[in-house]
Symmetry: C2
Subunit: 320 residues, 2 copies
């Protein structure tokens, strides 16, 4: 018991005893066993985080925001990749819960029925991010992808563009991508622009290269198109480079816009108009929310459900 205390921080131990213990620890190469500690104390120090993917995506920034927020709290991320599938998400929720995380962060508000049930009954704080679900499980840190995309449509409309197309993936697996398309369609209708031009190409998340190929199709199918909104900056960049190859002037001949404000859209030439969505902040604020929620649980005073809507803004650049 004395050793256990010596290895904690805020315990009262005689300096002499502590030194003796520390020397033994050093000599033996002793390392605390946290699984045993967790079992006994009922605190695992884990936070489960489920993201669709971590490669070339905004979610990497969100994960970093979370990591930073949890810095020094003694909590550790348990990261899982759903690969944009709610079925995979369900499996992951279950396997994560076996590790007894003290909170769980998921991406989006769509889950399988069982996945949702698992979340609801987990007995730990749940945070849904990157979305604004109609019926959240509990806490939310996100924004409406549909509304964000709509605001981009209105922005382009305000600049005089009328024949505006949307480039996205073929399925609705990427629910945020699907929401963006929905927002595009609604905004077009609301503006009296009847002929929505949607190119669906590639399994989400669509790559730079697929963005380029989609642009080729777009030009072929609707040669009179004036502007293309891409489901993400990566595909927008691919589309932009395809324009370079085809000697289509951007934005003179065709305007290109993306979504997400990746570094690439800031640095590319021309720089790409996009919707900035504060990926890092979503993680950061989710982390802060979660710290308060865990604190509440430990004290036996569960936190009331909280919804944080993060900002987004159209960032107008040279490509439109």
């Amino acid at each position: 018991m004395t050793v256990s205390r010596a290895l904690k921080d805020g315990a009262s131990i005689a300096a002499k005893t502590r030194n003796k213990i520390m020397k033994a620890v050093e000599d033996l190469g002793y390392v605390l066993d946290q699984s045993a500690g967790s079992l006994s104390s009922k605190r695992t120090g884990f936070v489960a985080v489920l993201v669709p993917s971590i490669n070339n995506s905004n979610f990497a920034d969100t994960a970093r925001g979370l990591t930073d927020a949890l810095q020094g709290s003694g909590l550790q991320l348990l990261l899982g990749y759903t690969d944009y599938s709610v079925e995979k998400e369900e499996e992951l929720i279950e396997s994560m819960l076996r590790r007894r995380p003290e909170a769980i962060v998921v991406t989006g508000g769509r889950h399988t029925a069982r996945g949702r049930r698992l979340l609801e009954n987990a007995g730990i704080p749940v945070i849904e991010t990157w979305d604004q679900p109609a019926k959240p499980v509990r806490h939310v840190v996100g924004f409406s992808n549909a509304e964000a995309a709509a605001s981009l449509v209105r922005h382009l409309h305000g600049k005089g563009y009328r024949k505006i197309a949307f480039i996205g993936g073929t399925t609705n697996r990427d629910t945020r991508g699907a929401d963006r398309r929905l927002g595009y369609e609604r905004a077009m209708t609301a503006l009296g622009l009847k002929d929505a031009r949607v190119i669906s190409f590639g399994t989400p998340p669509i790559t730079m290269q697929q963005g380029g190929e989609a642009l080729a199709r777009l030009i072929e199918q609707w040669p009179d198109v004036e502007a293309a909104i891409c489901v993400s900056d990566l595909s927008a960049f691919g589309a932009l480079m395809e324009c370079h190859r085809r000697k289509l002037q951007v934005p003179k001949r065709i305007a290109i816009a993306g979504f997400g404000d990746f570094e690439i859209s800031r640095c590319s030439y021309p720089a790409i108009t996009t919707v900035g969505v504060h990926c890092y902040d979503i993680g950061r604020r989710a982390g802060e929310l979660l710290l308060r929620a865990i604190e509440g649980e430990r004290k036996g005073q569960p936190m009331a459900a909280e919804t944080i809507i993060t900002n987004y803004a159209v960032i107008s650049r040279e490509s439109t």
Copy 2:
């Protein structure tokens, strides 16, 4: 005990008993507690993985390769970000070991003295990746960054370039970046090109934007430069876009090359010459190696140290 068995896969349980148990599990919303299981069975099912960063970097691909390799093995990644610092790495090694991972994967062969000691005494398989250490702790999956960079220099030399510059970060924190610069310098000397032109700009990992700014400096300092090798594709892309802005023709006026074969170098216009390094495969093969090593440990037959050198190759594209 019967319940415990019913929830495993390969146990012999009467179908009737199993159904009864499963029903109770469903009704109660029971979820196994794996920390308790780990304590008892001495298998945590964790694999610790330390990478410098996961944002916009090759390491995200390596992590994905590892994830894929471990798919279905029941092992779960415990990911940590060292932020390119060996001190942070040391801390992370220690905190990871408290979780009793069954293996640990680190990036690079440079560690603090204590970090190395912790790895050596951990009593689990250790894999160093992304490097070819002179004295590995145990297993290695990587390649020589210096040699890879040197081969790029020789490639450019073969194409007729002589005034070849190197753009990298200011410090040696990014040891792989530092190795690449070293390889560049050695190769220049070996080719009889005495005047190495090194631009050090920005804290590693250097961003697209910093790549652009570094190019501006390069042109200013050595207007006669013929080719620039950038420490990574991201900075190469930034440099390329800066050339666009300054109306410097690539590769006519100046050639640009990167490192890492990110998607961006394939898709940008002009496409960027780079060194392909199989990031995903490093993870994948580390994962496979680690599965064998863990299997060996469980059987009490530790695996002999193994070194897997992964391929790299100069990929010549339009930018040179």
